[in-house]
Symmetry: C2
Subunit: 230 residues, 2 copies
Amino acid sequence: MRNSGGGILSDRGPARLRADARRNQERILVSARAVFAEHGIDAPMATVARRAGVGVATLYRRFPNRDALVRAAFAQQIETCARALTEALADPDPWRGFQRLVETACELQREEQGFPAAFVAAFPDSTVEHAQARERAERDLLTLVRRAQAAGALRADFHPSDLAVALLSHCGLVTALPRDSAASRRLVAYLLQSFRAEAAHGALPPPSALSLRSLPLAADSSPRQRPSRA
Amino acid sequence: MRNSGGGILSDRGPARLRADARRNQERILVSARAVFAEHGIDAPMATVARRAGVGVATLYRRFPNRDALVRAAFAQQIETCARALTEALADPDPWRGFQRLVETACELQREEQGFPAAFVAAFPDSTVEHAQARERAERDLLTLVRRAQAAGALRADFHPSDLAVALLSHCGLVTALPRDSAASRRLVAYLLQSFRAEAAHGALPPPSALSLRSLPLAADSSPRQRPSRA
DNA sequence: TCTTAACCGGACGACATCGTCCGTTGGACC
DNA sequence: GGTCCAACGGACGATGTCGTCCGGTTAAGA
C-alpha cells in the first residue's frame, strides 16, 4: 500500500518503478489505446494484457480497475485537448480559434474511437486538481464562444452547450462508423457552417441544460453511468 | 417444428397461438421496448422477462435470441419510419417533406433510445421481402433528395449519405443523453439549417461512401457487428 | 366434465469476465 | 557473484448472463 498515489498516472514522477515495471506500464498503455479503439471501451482487460505481452495481474497491479486504465490511457489525449483549447484562445481570429478547436477535438475522436466513449462513460470520480482544470476549461470555452460572437462570426443564438451537443453527436458518429472519416469530416463541416452567423435563418429551439463538464475538453466529466447492462 | 416461420413477427397471422401465449407475447414486446429504452439494447433478457411477468423460457420460446426480440419489438417503429417516408414523398412541398422525415426519424430515436441502437447493431440477416422494402426505401429517399434539390431548397452539394450521417450522429447523441430532448432538437435544427440551400457557404469535404441501407428508415441494415466486447 | 397437448416458469449447466492470490523470476544494489 | 524484494504471470473463485430442460399447469375442444 506504500505505492498508493503514485504510478497510476505517469505524470507524478517515476515513483521509483523498476525498469521492467516501467516498460510494462508503457506497453499496457499502448495496448489499451489500440484495443479500446478496436473493440470499444468494454473490451476485456485480459485482451489488453495479452496484447501487451503481460499477465492480467500486472495490469491490475498498475491500474486497479478499468476506469483507471482508461483514464491513464487517454491522459495524453486530454492533454492534447487542453492544449488545443489554449491555442484556440490565443488565436487572434476568434472564429478560426473556435473552428480549429472543434476540428481538433473531432479529429482526436476520429483517430481513437475509444477516446470519446471513454469520456462519456468513465469518469465518476474527480480529484481537486481535475476539478480545477475542468473549471478553467469551462471558463476558457465560454470566453472563446463570447469572443467569436462579439466578432460577429459565431451566431448570436449559439449556446455553449451546443458545443457539447456537437461533440457528443460526432462522438456517436465515429463510434458507429469507426472507419469512415469522410462521414466525420462531413458532419463537422455541416455543423461549423450552421454555427456561422450567416447561417442563422429562423429561430432555434431552446438550448440544452447540458453542462460543459461532460465534454472531453475538460479533464473531468459529470458522473454519467456507462450505457451498460441493467 | 410445425410452428417455424410463425409467431416471431406478429404480422403473419395468428398462427394458432393459444390465448395466454398470445397475451404473453404482447406483454413481452411491451416490456422489451421499455427495458431496451431504459437500459439499452444489451439489457439482460431476464430483465425483460421479469418485467413482462413471464419466465425466461417463455421469452426464449417466442423469440429464439436477442436479435429476434429486438427485431420484433421495433417492428412497429420500422413501420412508422416507412410510413413517414411515404408521407414525405407525398408532400407537395419537397423541402417540407424532407424536413418532416428527418424530424420524425429523430423523434422516434428520441422517444425510444433502444430503437437507434437496435438498428445499428441487430440485423445481420435479411429476408427477400426485407431486401425489397429496403431497396424501395433507398429509391424513395433518393427521389426525395433530388426533388428537394430541384426545388432549390436543399443545397446542391447535399449527398444522400449525409442523411445517414445526420441520423447516425443524432442516434449517438440520444444514446449518450437519453433524457435530454432539448439537445436532440437543437442538433436537428442545426443540421436542417445547414442542409438548406441558403446555408451553403464554401465547399464541403467529399461525402461518405456510406450506403443508405444502414439507415433505420429501411427495413434492413448492412451487417454491422454490434460494438460489443472482443 | 374430461382429455390432452400446448404452454408456463424456475432451476440448471455452460460460458465469459472480473479482480485476487500466491509461488516464481529476475532487476537493483552491495 | 550474491542477496533481497519488487514485480511477474497463471490459476482461481466469484459473479452475471445466456439459452435449455423438465415437471407442473391450463386453455381448448369433445
